[in-house]
Structures are given as C-alpha cells and as structure tokens.
Amino acid sequence: MPELHFPWIEVSILVPLFGALWIHLLGNRESVLQHAIAICGVTLALTVGELVDFVSIGSFEAHDHWLFLDWLFQRDIFVVDELSAFQLPLAALIFLVTVMSTLRTKAPRFSLKLTLISESLVLATFSCRSSWTLIALLIAATIPPYLELRSRQRCTRIYVLHMAVFALLLVVGFAWLNHAGGSSSQALIAGALLTAAALLRSGIFPLHLWMTDLFEKATFGTAILFTTPLVGAYAVMRLVLPMAPSWALQSIAVLSLVTAVYGGAMALVQREARRMFCYLLLSQSSLVLVGLELVTPIGLTGALCMWLSVGLSLTGFGITLRCIEARISRVSLADYHGLARQMPMLSGFFLLTGLASIGFPATVGFVGMELLIEGAVDVYPLVGTMVVIAAALCGITVLMAYFRVFTGHHNRTLVPMHARPAERVAVLILTLLILGGGLVPQPGVASRYHAAEALTRQRQTNPMTEQQVGEMEIETVAIGKHSAE
C-alpha cells in the first residue's frame, strides 16, 4: 500500500487529543478559547496537508509514513482513501468553525476539552476502516455528549437508550459476521444488525428521537458537532455497503427516503429554531443515505457530493443559529425577530447556507442534488420524485426560518449584535467554500466520481455481493433490451 510523505493521519488525530490535555492544564483562563481555536486550526492544516499529499500520490488508498502506534495496533489501522480523504478536512473544518463561533461568555458552558476529544475521535473514525477499532471509535464518540448531558444535569435516558442499542447492535453484528464468515447465509443476520446500528446512528425514522433530544438538552455546539460530520453515513459505507445484498440497500434507501420527506415536513411545523435545524439536518442527511444506497456510480457520486455540501452548508446554517442563540437565548420561530439590521452579515450567511443545503444553483449543493436525483430517477423514478419533494419542503423551511429570524419586526435592541471577528472569519471561510464549490464544481465531482467508482468496484469484488451485483446487471440488461424492443 502506498505511503504518505508525513504521518498526517496520526498527527492530526493526536494534536486535538494533546490539545485537550493542554486545555485541561490551562484551566479556566481567559485565553483558553484562543488556544482551542489554534489547536483546531493546526488540526485542519494537517488534514488539508494529508489531502494534498494523498492527491499527489494518485492512489486509491494510502497509510502513514511512520506509524507511532505500530507497537499498539496492526500496521493498516489508519488508512486514508478516496472516501475519507475529503471527509477528514471537512470534519476538522466543522470543528474549527464551531469553536471559532463560540462566544467567550459561552465558553464555560461548551466544554472545549470534550470538543477536542470528540474531534480526535471523529478524525480517527474517518481514518479507520472496517474493524473492531472502527466499532470501538464509533462507540467511544458517543461518550463526550453523554458526559456533557450529565454535567448539565439533564435527563440522559433517551440518549443512553439509543446509543446503548447502537453499541450493542454494532458489537453483536460484527462479532456474528466474524463468526459466520464471508459466504455464510448467517452473514445476512449480521448485516441486518449492523444496518440497524448504522440507521440508528444516522437518525433514520423512527429511530431519530435521540437526535431531537440531543438538540434539546445538549449545548447547540455539541449537538452540531455530533451530527453534522455524518458519522452514521460513514458507518454505512464501511460496515454495511461492502457486504449488504441489494434488496437490503434498497430497504435502507426507502427508509432514508421516508425520513427525508418526514424530516422536511416536520422542519416546517417546528416553532423553535434548534428543532427546525435538527429536522432539516435529518432530512438532508437522509438524502445522502438515499444516494449511498442506490449503489450506482451516478447516485453514489451525488451522495458523496451531497455529503460534503450538507457538512459545509448545514454547519454554517447551524453556527449562525448558534451565534444568534448565544446572544438572545433560544430562537422562537412562532414570531418574527427582525434581526437583519443588527446582524447583516449573519443574515446573508444564513440565507446562503440555507440555500446551499437545499441545492440551490451556484452553491456547492446544486450539482450534488442534481446527480443524486438523476441517479435516483435511473433506478426508480418515484424515488427521484420523493427526493425533489423533500428538497422542496426543506426549501420552504429555509426561507421561512430566514424571514422569521431576520425580518418582519422593528427591532429595538440597543446592544450591538454584529458578528465578532472570529465569527466573521468562520463565515467567510464557509462562504468561500460554498460558492467556490458551487461555481467550479468539476474538480470536486470528478474526485467524488472516482471514489464512487472505486467503492462500486470494491463491492463488486466482494464475494458476498459479487453474485447479487452480477444478477442485478443481468436484470438491468434484460430490462434495457425489453424497453428497446
């Protein structure tokens, strides 16, 4: 396997981990937020370096040059491939902008230590492929939000119940898979358990209640960081996609589709901004899963593009809401707030990120959405129609939220509420990426297509799915011949 020129993967995982230790040693100093921003910035730089290095190698996958953890784990424990190469900088960026948009007054509530540990776990998860380590990391990542809920003295039952089931399903499913072996029919049961686990972590209807609960009870920042990197989708890609039969993937696609429409509709009836955001995220992240389960190169490319766009745009949308919430407490959508005059930059950014999340033209989400719908129509026209309906519902929600938060009211606030410098930088970084990715989409799409192709090939060479893929191809050819006649 090719090697990177520097141990980017392990250093990028260790930097936030040691950063958390550093923050712990600093205690409650005023400068702790700046330190956290610097650590997240360095981590982002490392992941970008990793991406550049990986692209320069031109291989499907690569591992670290030196392995610090070689004595502890097997050699190929952390690997970067075409799927994760883009997810790593995205995840690091999500953490950086979220920390940057934290007001100093709110820093004591939002645990920077746990955030950096979470970042380390997320980066390690995205750098790890199907193995017990990945499962351990997926389970470990659920602990920081739990600790925060506990420290805030909030009821943790819903979260613990769902995450315990998630962990149990993962462990039992993977153990069963290892026990049953690759070609056994018993592997189907193992696959079903792993699928259920991945769906639960993704918040697929009706297993989404932990997500709304987390947004209610945790800090907004933690909730954003736990949900927007779409770790559940990664679990699907690594654990389910390589071995699940086509009918199982189609079932996941149908469930995801129901969630997309349900989330879009529920977002529209919410009376509070956090919940609205939660359902919007649920709807859009489910669309990513719909594309992943289509298992056609076009659908998969669309899903991978959507993955990046949802991560970027909904993080931006979320941090804007968080900035507003940090100033005026929870944002009601039952009435109009008229904040545009006080915060013109954030209002524009809110609209831009909202539109990007629904795939509006000239934003990063547009081409991904087009590819996704195109791929869906190719497989099942009705699926394409439902995707369009979900997007339409989310579109109505986005503008409704914009109008409710920023217009319709003559605001009398005397205290300045404009964006602070760190918030402005975070907004500008995301804006440039959203518009840049929207106006010049070809490099991103080409790279995602390459990754999609490689993943499809991997699935075709897997002995558990090889036969089904072959059968599916024969069926497709037969249908093609029939329609031609």
Partner: protein, 464 residues
C-alpha cells in the same frame, strides 16, 4: 470556426456574461460589506443591461442579414462525467423565441433600473434591491437563452428566489414578509414539478438539450421526440410549473400579494416578466404540447379559467396595483389559450406587447392615483365610473356571487389553505405531539426546553 461563428460566440458570451458579472460585483460587495454608492450601483446596472442588450441586437442584425435562424452558443460543460454520459452543458440558443424574449427582458429591466434609481433614492434597502435585481436579471437572461432544460431550471430558480425576496423587500413589516413566504412556497412547489418534468424528459430522451427533445427543426417547427402518453405526463408537470410561475388558476393567490413589494419590482417582475415566464416555458416546449391532444385541451382549459377568473377579480379590487395584477392574469390566461391553440407567434407578440404596456401602467400607477386625487379635489366630486353593461343582464344572485368571488380573489388562497396547508399542518402537528409524548414518557419529565422559547428575547436587552 469561421469569422461569423467567432462573432456569434463573442457576442453571445457577452450577453450571458454581462448579468453574471453584475451579480458577482454586487454579491461580492454585499459579502465583504463594501458600501458601493447609489450612483455606482446604478451605473453598473445600466452598463450590464446595455452590454447584454447591444450584443443581442448585434446577433439579431447578423441573423437577419445572413438568414441564419438558429445560433447556438456553446460554453462547454460546467460539470461532466464522460463515463456515465452525465453532463451539465452550458449551451445558449439564439432563435426566434429567445431573441424577442431576451430583448424584452433587457429593455424592461433597463427601464425599471433607471426608474428605481430615483424611486428608491436614499432608501435603506437600495443596495439590497439592486442585488436582488441582479439575481432576477441574471435569471431572466439564463431562462430566455437556455439551450438545455437544466440551464432553464437554473434561471427559473434565480427568478423565483429574487421575486420572493423582493416581495419581502420591506423587512420591518410582517405583511410583506408573509407574502414573500407565500410566493416562495408556491414557487417551490412549481419548481419541484419542473424539476421532475425535466428529469423525466432527460430520462426519456437521454439528454436535456432542447435540440434532442424536439427531434427535428428549430423553434417553432420542432417535433417532440417522445410518445403521446409520455408527453401527457411530462406536459402535465410542466403545466403545474407554468401555472405556479405565471400565477394561473389555482395559484393566482400569490399575484396580489406580490404587489406588496416596491412599485418598480411589482411592475417588472410580477406585472411584466415573471408572470410571462410560465407562458415562455410552454412556448419553448410547445412541441410537447402538440404531441398530445388531451394536453392541449388541458392548456386551453387552464388558460380560459385563469383569464375568466382574472377578469372578474380585477374589476372588484380596491387597490390599483392589485387590479392591474389581475388584469395581467387575464392577458396571461389568453396567451396560454393561444399557446394551447398552437398560435405561437401570436402568443409571443401578445407577451411582448402586454409586458411593455403593463410595465408602463404599473410604473404610472402611484402618480396616477395622485392625479386622480387632484382632479377629484378640483371638480369637487368623484370621477364617474362606468359599470360593465353586461353585468346588468345577470341575475342579482349571480352578480353578488361574482362580486364575492372577485373580492375574495377566487377563494383560491382559502382553498389552498383549507385543502393543503391545514391538513399538512394537522398531520405533522400530530406527529410532533406523538414524538413529544414518547420522549416525555421515556424521560419521565417534560422533554422539550424549546417550548419555553420567548417570542422576542432580543427586545429585553439581555443579549450577550
């Protein structure tokens, strides 16, 4: 590429690039909070319109001189995956439909831009207006010249967003904002229908190029490359899209609401250009209508009903802009009937004439009211108003019903609220309550802190 092709390419690129550059400059200025002066914005806008209009005239002159009827401008692929034959082709077409519509858009946008310079002078939202205006102008140029269904969709979306934001231009009041939301909701539904139709066409014909869809000849002589049944399905979706955009029955409710925006935007967008975009779509894809008699009958029926409703409603409104908006609807209904009957050139001429006249009427509306007031003050009485002679022949109950129908704007908003919005809210409100019950029972306590969100905490000065 010969000299003529190079000239066409250069001029065509200028037509498309000019509004895009305007949008980029105004958008970038807004992004980095760069305060451009009113005069600069106005000059940039005028320049953008001129640099779009003059090359278009140049292309028209060359086309007339050389007898060329179809000029495609290829700007390459925006996105492509050659292995999967997926491409987003940037192709723009100058033909007998797009050139008149493009020139109409440029002229009316130019007129309204010049009018707005003084109308909104020293208004707080001057820059915002011109940013939305640039989005609209860009959308109109893209829609007019689109050579592929995807490019048409991009323009269509830009027009929709800018229209909704302009309706909500007066930010501090609730009513315009609610109306903007209403317009956007209708647009999103019609956009969804358009997107599904576009994908179906793409799926059926294998490409989004209009040349591929209309397998032979250029507009208006194309023939649809799909069967009659397929045409009926696709055409029905396109009809929904056109009805939403052109405020045809039963989506007319947004049209009077759109008049809440500033007068120049009402004039240009909802009185002249935006309402004709649906008719333009039907004209552009008219070969599909020809492929199915049922579809043609549906188009004619929709046009007749919309025109009749518009005529009744425009007569009983107490607001001049709303009355003019419904008068527009009547004409658009008639244009749709003409399209349904296959009278394409007549429909195109009708669009151009009607759009110009309606823009002038709407721009004149505020001053006309002032003139009427002065006139009535001077003569000391109301000006005489002649009722429609035919109304007297109708029974009193019918007259009353027509009045109520017109005054309540055809009960269309009420019907949409009752049959679509309310059931939707009830259904998902029920799901929301169900979720609350489940989470409450698992938590053994109220699970929603969000219930305690205050409507206006920003007023209390408890900000961070």
């Amino acid at each position: 590429m010969n000299y003529l092709d190079t000239t066409f390419q250069a001029l065509g690129t200028a037509v498309v690039a000019s509004p895009a550059i305007l949008l980029a400059i105004l958008g970038l200025a807004a992004l980095v909070n760069w305060q451009l002066s009113e005069a600069t914005i106005s000059r940039l806008t005028q320049a953008a319109v001129l640099f779009s209009l003059l090359p278009a005239i140049g292309i028209l002159v060359i086309m007339l001189a050389t007898g060329i009827r179809y000029v495609p401008i290829e700007l390459g692929n925006w996105v492509s995956i050659p292995e999967q034959e997926f491409h987003f082709h940037l192709k723009f077409v100058f033909d007998r439909l797009s050139i008149p519509f493009l020139m109409l858009s440029c002229v009316l946008c130019g007129v309204v831009g010049a009018f707005t310079r003084r109308y909104l002078h020293r208004e707080e939202g001057y820059r915002r207006f011109f940013l939305y205006y640039a989005v609209f102008f860009c959308g109109m140029v893209l829609s007019s010249l689109a050579g592929t269904i995807e490019a048409l969709f991009v323009g269509w979306e830009l027009v929709g967003l800018s229209s909704a934001l302009l309706v909500a231009y007066f930010h501090e009041r609730v009513n315009p904002v609610r109306n903007g939301q209403r317009v956007w909701s209708i647009y999103r539904l019609s956009d969804a229908a358009f997107l599904i139709a576009a994908l179906m066409m793409h799926h059926l014909s294998g490409e989004g190029d209009f040349g591929g869809l209309m397998s032979s000849g250029v507009w208006p002589e194309g023939t649809a490359a799909i069967s009659s049944t397929e045409a009926l399905w696709v055409g029905s979706l396109l009809l929904v899209a056109a009805a939403g955009k052109s405020a045809l029955f039963p989506f007319s409710g947004w049209l009077p609401r759109a008049m809440e925006g500033p007068t120049p935007s009402s004039a240009i967008f909802y009185g002249a250009l935006s309402v004709h975009l649906g008719a333009f779509l039907l004209l552009r894809l008219s070969p599909i209508l020809d492929a199915s008699l049922t579809l043609q009958l549906m188009v004619i029926a929709l046009g007749v009903v919309s025109a009749a409703c518009g005529a009744v409603m425009s007569r009983v409104q107490n607001d001049i802009k709303v009355s003019l908006a419904y008068a527009s609807l009547t004409q658009v209904g008639i244009i749709v009937v003409e399209i349904g009957l296959g009278l394409r050139y007549l429909a195109l001429i009708h669009i151009i004439g009607h759009a110009c006249m309606r823009t002038m009427q709407l721009l004149r509306a505020p001053t006309l009211l002032r003139d009427y007031n002065e006139l009535e003050n001077k003569i000391g009485t109301r000006l005489p108003h002649q009722a429609w002679a035919g109304a007297a022949s109708l029974p009193a109950s019918v007259q009353r019903w027509c009045y109520r129908f017109g005054y309540d704007r055809g009960f269309m908003d009420l019907a949409l609220d009752k049959w679509i919005v309310r059931p939707f809210l009830q259904t998902f409100g029920w799901f929301d309550r169900l979720e609350r019950r489940i989470t409450d029972s698992i938590s053994h306590e109220p699970s929603r802190e969000s219930d305690r969100a205050e409507p206006h905490p920003e007023d209390l000065q408890n900000v961070a």
